[in-house]
Symmetry: C2
Subunit: 302 residues, 2 copies
């Protein structure tokens, strides 16, 4: 059973998975370094779309063998991004990753109705994964990056994405918690009312393939002792695999408290809802986070 | 300068502060234990209002000298809560603490227009304090407990409370960050637009006694490296004392990620806006958190 990112890499090795990664404007040391490690670990082959001269220079500086990559030379950033997305659009790639281009440019290319990666009426969302030494397994959560204040129908779809990603990691029936500020049924707080509705949909199989409960405050989602003290009866509480946060700020705070105030944390994240998962790593993300994100995306499409 | 809770206790000792703590239905081992430690440390004298027989039993079981307390015998929970609040209402106490009664009952007594503790047209809010070994000083933040989705005018008042509490800890000009999911100026997200407005009010002294900036995502609030990578210029970023979260869920997630997923964290919290600060600790909070909360409240009124 997969409990952490080392287990993920081991699972990918055991399954001998190799998927096609395409990096849009992958001309910086972090993106190239992460793609290189993923190639070395054997679970992707990588195409870098960008200024070939810049790529060659970074590889030389970092001591990386550039011949391990397929390099598509396109020295104009915005055109390189469009070309990278186009490669995936026509089926030439399984996983997409943003390089050092702006998020705006990358999203515009992905959302382009004719040449992009989002199906008609599709919903774009984001699934993150956290490994924290104080929790016994990976935590999958949404959405720290894309949907500011999801409505109820969006939450239903986002739950499906979350459960789908967790299942691709070998968790046959993920436990999903609908996070609120309290497990009290406060009828003026949408996180509470919608948490209860989503939990009921899980009970009835309307959100399929999982066990769900909510509203639950974060302590009772992940801490068995808090569950005991509060005498909650729940199949999910204290042992959640997936957390659906009620808004972008709470999910964002969860990611960043983990990365900036906890020791020994490893993280990953990707866009879902697209025909291929898209890694939207930030400039401030480490090579490790980008590598984990590639692994997350490859697990999801394998 | 105060960097952690040990410094707080030292400061209280040095100032030889002694305030009057009143505990409403303080008949459980955690409340009594925390009050006892605060008495032992010398910064409060404590009155417990509740069933004297229960209190005597807990003191005996825990090996505590009951004669260190003033005990007001009132064996009916709801009446004991009302009596405790009444004592503070008439000036017989400086700091109020909830014992093991329900939050609902406690809040109803505090909010009672004739006998409660909230001034007319007052705003009730909550200020928490976190000591995290991965941050060099205390973090003050609002509001994880009371106001679900503060409006702009409420945020202005909440900022004043936060700054006031930080100043009572000896921070002469606290740095306050207005938290959002991004430091981009996204005009569809209230956390961003209002973060900018609040920052401007700090610039102009309309929120007084502090330096403020926002919108800022949590990483750039507290992590100097992220500030450098993102090339932000800000007097607050990377070094915040105070965090105003845009909604109850994000503040609640910040508290609970700290307490459940980080090691070596110490925390405190209290209600503000009332004539005396009120500690609203949860059943699941440790004796340590309750003791720290008493210290926070005593700092604030000293």
């Amino acid at each position: 059973m997969i409990k952490n990112f080392e287990d993920v890499f081991e699972a990918l090795r055991a399954k001998a998975v190799r998927k096609r990664l395409v990096v849009a404007w992958g001309v910086d040391s972090h993106s190239i370094g992460a793609a290189y490690l993923a190639v070395e670990k054997g679970f992707v082959e990588a195409t870098l779309v960008g200024d070939a001269a810049k790529i060659a220079k970074v590889c030389e500086e970092e001591g990386l063998d550039a011949s391990k990559f397929t390099i598509v030379d396109n020295p104009v950033e915005i055109k390189a991004v469009a070309q990278a997305v186009q490669i995936v659009h026509v089926g030439g790639g399984d996983v997409m990753m943003k390089g050092i281009c702006s998020t705006d440019k990358f999203l515009r290319a992905i959302l382009n109705k004719e040449t992009g990666l989002l199906p008609p009426k599709g919903l774009l969302s984001h699934v993150s994964v956290v490994e924290n030494p104080n929790y016994p397994k990976l935590i999958f959560f949404s959405d720290m990056a894309v949907i500011p204040q999801p409505g109820f129908r969006q939450k239903v779809k986002m739950s499906g994405f979350l459960v789908g990603v967790a299942r691709s990691f070998g968790i046959s029936t993920p436990k999903i918690a609908f996070v609120a500020a309290s497990e009290q049924m406060l009828d003026t707080m949408p996180a509470c009312t919608e948490g209860a509705m989503l939990a009921k949909m899980c009970d009835r199989g309307q959100i399929a393939g999982c066990v769900g409960d909510g509203p639950l405050a974060l302590d009772v989602c992940i801490d068995p002792e808090s569950v005991e003290i509060k005498k909650l009866r729940s199949e999910v509480a204290g042992d959640a695999d997936c957390l659906l946060f009620p808004n972008i700020e709470s999910a964002n705070v969860f990611w960043k408290t983990n990365s900036k105030l906890c020791k020994g944390v490893r993280q990953a994240g990707m866009l879902v809802g697209t025909t291929a998962p898209c890694i939207l790593a930030s400039r401030a993300d480490s090579v490790d986070t980008k590598l984990n994100s590639i692994a997350e995306a490859v697990m999801f499409v394998s």
